[in-house]
């Protein structure tokens, strides 16, 4: 294969002929000092806060601090080749990123440059990175479920489209796993997914991309990566850039899901920049506006009114706590901003309860509105039952003799805990979840050994998918648990149990 030189020459000739030479008028300044991802620039007297500037090496900067004698610029790119005395050019626009279908399936940096070696993003669609979130009149209440495919979450802390549900917990407790499962479960649901990795090891991000590719989720997912080696300004803008890309789908009537992994690192990057810019430090040395930094980001997730197309943007921010300390500054901030939190705990994680969600302190403030009716029916009392079970379990450990009713409650609890365990990368359709939870809450598992519950569950799901898929289809279609459906589930369970012999 070779290039035909005539064609190339004609394209270039066209470009040159169409080049209209206008006088280039630009507002400039001079670099006074540069380092640590920020620069102080003299001049640029007409620059506006948040305006883009360009350095001679091609790096883009943002006017961050406007001071009396100089302008503080954050550099979104290579700051090592910028020198004192370099001319800085104001571009007169706000930072924007490519958006639209062209970004789907790509791995990009926060400026929309490719990191996956598939060439530049070819699109005319761009969106400003920082916009003010939609107001009250443009929204409607969240009412449509956003299924994560995780039994414990869809049953007890359901997430609706347009909701912000925080995933919070210590390191290595499966926070990212929950978010990845939620992305995997959006296959075929017409939801575009965005995974924003902030300050993560590039190896972990490569692992995530690998999983998404393996399960066919990259077809509808964009990964935005500002890794641990990226300068702080890039880590700071990454979530806003990801949101801008996701908003394109929301404002065009579609649905999007965005995961911010994680916002504690973004806050740290913002703290670094603010301190270098000599903004006064506050609690934990974070700047005074770190709350606004997160609130204006998460406020952009919304469910739009029908007049605006009814699109939605659901966000799953992740916060890493230290030793379970949720009363630290950033965790309390983000807890108060979001519409609920999924709290994952290391002790649960290591005792084998995975996902390690603690149902007692995890909530979803949208609640039942984000569940289908059938799920609401089977899982309505589940959260309280589990909480009661935990209390009882602690009491039972004292070794007292228990009356049969209490013992039965305990046995049911053990089985429900077992039933809510779920392996990674195996999200379940909502109809499957409904029948399984029905079997559990109606006591059909009480005579199954605790350690064989998961095997029973797998076999039963296999059975019902093979033999009675009509029931599942009916639940999916109707969304409700009618008496007719209930009877057919009962019958299917009876039939299954009659012929079931657990593998030895």
């Amino acid at each position: 294969m070779k290039f035909s030189s005539d064609e190339i020459a004609s394209v270039l000739q066209q470009e040159i002929e169409n080049f209209d030479s206008k006088i280039d008028v630009r507002e400039v300044g001079t670099v006074l000092e540069v380092g640590d991802g920020i620069a102080r620039v003299y001049g640029l007297s007409g620059v506006m806060a948040g305006e883009m500037v360009e350095f001679p090496n091609g790096a883009i900067g943002l006017a961050f601090n406007l001071e009396e004698n100089s302008v503080g610029i954050i550099i979104l790119g290579d700051y090592l080749t910028i020198q004192e005395g370099d001319e800085v050019k104001a571009l007169g626009t706000l930072l924007s990123v490519p958006a639209g279908d062209a970004v789907v399936g790509r791995v990009l940096d926060p400026l929309g440059n490719p990191l996956d070696g598939k060439g530049p993003v070819q699109t005319d669609v761009t969106r400003p990175v920082e916009i003010i979130a939609t107001g009250v009149a443009e929204r409607q209440p969240v009412g449509e479920p956003m299924q994560t495919g995780i039994k414990a979450i869809d049953a007890m802390t359901p997430i609706g489209r347009g909701q912000r549900e925080l995933i919070i917990g210590d390191r290595k407790t499966g926070k990212t796993a929950i978010a990845i499962d939620a992305i995997l479960n959006q296959k075929g649901q017409d939801v575009k997914c965005f995974y924003v990795a902030i300050g993560q090891k590039d190896s972990s991000v490569a692992g995530v991309v690998d999983v998404l590719e393996k399960y066919g989720a990259m077809e509808y997912t964009t990964v935005i990566n500002a890794g641990a080696s990226a300068p702080a300004p890039l880590q700071y803008v990454a979530p806003y850039a990801g949101t801008a890309m996701a908003e394109h789908f929301m404002f065009n009537g579609g649905h999007a899901l965005i995961v911010y992994d994680d916002l504690s690192k973004q806050a740290t990057a913002y703290r670094q920049m603010s301190l270098l810019m000599r903004r006064p430090p506050g609690r934990e040395a974070f700047p005074g506006d770190v709350f606004y930094c997160h609130s204006r980001l998460l406020e952009r997730s919304s469910k739009l009114s029908d007049d605006l197309g009814g699109g939605s943007l659901t966000s799953l921010p992740i916060i890493e706590t230290l030793e379970g300390e949720v009363s630290a500054y950033i965790p309390t901030n983000v807890i108060s901003i979001t519409d609920g939190q999924i709290y994952v705990q290391p002790d649960l994680f290591f005792s084998g309860v995975r996902p390690a969600m603690n149902p007692g302190i995890s909530v979803s403030r949208v609640g039942g509105a984000a569940q289908i009716k059938a799920m609401k029916k089977v899982a309505g009392g589940l959260r309280l039952d589990l909480a009661a079970f935990r209390a009882l379990e602690a009491f039972a450990q004292l070794g007292t003799d228990l009356d049969p009713a209490t013992q039965a409650q305990l046995d049911r609890g053990y089985r429900m805990v077992e039933l809510l365990k779920q392996p990674q990368f195996k999200p379940l359709p909502v109809a499957d979840q409904v029948v399984i939870l029905y079997a559990g809450t109606e006591g059909h598992l009480d005579d199954v050994e605790i350690k064989s519950v998961s095997q029973w569950e797998a076999d039963f799901l296999q059975y019902i998918n093979d033999k009675h898929s009509a029931i599942l289809e009916k639940i999916t279609a109707e969304g409700a648990l009618s008496d007719e459906v209930r009877e057919s589930i009962e019958a299917a369970i009876k039939e299954f149990k009659a012929g079931y012999k657990p593998a030895a």
Binding site: V11, F19, E27
Partner: protein, 208 residues
């Protein structure tokens, strides 16, 4: 790195600049009262450029904290007394008394900026590849004056790397019509356009 002098000029002490502005304001108000503003600015420029610029020892002596104010006053009287306006000589003595004599250049810069502002003038830095002739100079001054609605003072620089055309800088705004810049932007544009077309018509443009 090719031009170390230019690199050095950008070292900007915003504190000194602030100080220079304050002293310049005081000097010009006094000069205005006496009605000798432009003379004062000219003479100050002369002192900084010719005397201090021509004799680094004098500049160092003015800057040195080890030489006390009386000694400095004596030098000022000896070198500048008689030849320059008494106002300037007194002003320098005040600066010496406050240990600020080393900032004379900042004061000069501040005074020029302030004088331009007071007299409705504006400084335009014009860079060209070849030296300007008088006709062109007049044309630039006139046209810029019309656009900016100010009297224009030109400061000329020769920069052969521009190839042709000129670059005019007024304040923080740069009007760039140099050949070098146009070549740069045409290269950028052609590159972008070419890669876009290449992706669109990859089949057409390649042959087996």
């Amino acid at each position: 790195m090719e031009n170390p002098d230019q690199q050095h000029e950008s070292v900007m002490d915003t504190g000194a600049e602030q100080l220079g502005k304050t002293y310049a304001q005081a000097l010009l108000s006094a000069a205005e009262k006496a009605g000798i503003t432009s003379t004062v600015v000219d003479q100050l420029t002369q002192i900084v450029d010719e005397y201090l610029g021509g004799s680094p020892q004098l500049a160092a002596a003015f800057d040195s904290p080890r030489i006390d104010a009386d000694e400095k006053n004596r030098v000022i009287d000896k070198v500048f007394g008689g030849e320059f306006e008494p106002l300037i000589v007194n002003f320098m003595k005040v600066m010496a008394g406050r240990g600020r004599l080393g900032n004379l250049q900042a004061v000069r810069d501040g005074a020029i900026a302030l004088f331009d502002e007071m007299s409705g003038q504006v400084l335009a830095n014009v860079s060209t590849a070849v030296p300007l002739d008088d006709a062109l100079r007049g044309k630039i001054t006139e046209q810029l004056g019309n656009v900016l609605n100010r009297k224009v003072r030109l400061k000329e620089t020769i920069d052969e790397e521009l190839i042709g055309g000129m670059v005019i800088r007024v304040g923080d705004t740069v009007f760039d019509n140099s050949v070098a810049n146009r070549l740069d932007s045409i290269a950028k544009k052609a590159q972008e356009g070419f890669s876009a077309t290449l992706l669109q018509k990859f089949e057409q443009m390649t042959s087996d």
